[in-house]
């Protein structure tokens, strides 16, 4: 990447619901490793990815690990810039106030700027 992207945060976009394959888990893994390597990381929950934020989730009958424990660990990794696409959230009947983590809503108009101000961008 050119030098002018060196100070940009790394962006991980999460677009799959928990247990919809391993997308969410493997996307979060990239965020955690990048943070462990000292990169500033932004997480953006979009589409079905906002389901990851729905409160009250447990591990579930399939015996797979849930992702809430990972989200609880984000602050420990200094991943504090959490964004959620406001439209996706509203479409699924969720509101910012009920989310268990401090997540900032992003309007559709503001989305391109969030993506343009990050490098690299990983889309899961």
């Amino acid at each position: 990447m050119s030098d002018d992207t060196a100070d940009m945060p790394l962006l991980v976009i999460l677009r799959h619901a928990p247990h919809d394959g391993s997308w969410l888990r493997e996307g979060l893994d990239v965020a955690l490793v990048a943070a462990a390597f000292g990169r500033a990381v932004t997480l953006l929950f979009m589409g079905d990815g906002v389901e990851a934020l729905r409160p009250g989730q447990k591990a579930g009958p399939l015996g797979q690990k849930g992702t809430h424990p990972t989200l609880d660990m984000l602050a420990m990794y200094d991943i504090e810039d959490l964004r959620v696409d406001a439209t996706s959230l509203a479409e699924r009947g969720l509101s910012i106030a009920e989310l268990p983590w401090p997540v900032r809503p992003v309007t559709a108009e503001a989305l391109p700027a969030v993506i343009a101000s990050a490098s690299p961008v990983f889309n899961f």
Binding site: S22, F37, R39
Partner: protein, 137 residues
């Protein structure tokens, strides 16, 4: 950081399995096209179901493109590094000889030029290449 004027160093991220999704075909075609135009394909990182591209046991019908062999050709001809996420590979049953021994498995399915790698190398690829392009299903 391009070595020559206008020539770029590319990294590709492949997230789709071979044959079951278009991602691998698209990534290969993109890789071949950028080489034709004089750019360099330095690194391919296989993650999520993309790790299935690294199975040396893949035996597609002879009248279909052999995608695993196509990656191997890229590595041999262009020096492209083929990095396979170790965590994603192990849980899907793709192990190199060393990991197979470590886990007491009777066989291994990943061999050079495919190399098991950590996610840290994906993060690094995003920094050290001029372009990082993801191919997802």
């Amino acid at each position: 950081m391009a070595s020559e004027q206008g020539k770029l160093r590319y990294a590709l991220v492949v997230l789709g399995g071979p044959y079951s999704q278009a991602a691998t075909h698209s990534a290969l075609r993109f890789g071949e096209a950028l080489i034709t135009q004089g750019h360099r394909l330095d690194t391919v990182f296989f993650y999520h179901d993309g790790v299935y591209n690294a199975s040396r046991l893949a035996a597609p019908p002879q009248d279909e493109p052999h995608l695993v062999d196509a990656w191997v050709r890229l590595a041999n001809d262009q020096g492209t590094e083929l990095l396979v996420c170790v965590a994603a590979a192990l849980r899907r049953g793709l192990l190199d000889e060393r990991e197979a021994q470590r886990h007491g498995k009777p066989a291994f399915s990943v061999e050079p030029p495919f190399v098991l790698a950590g996610i840290g190398q994906l993060v690094e690829a995003g920094i050290t290449h001029d372009r990082l392009v993801t191919f997802a299903p």
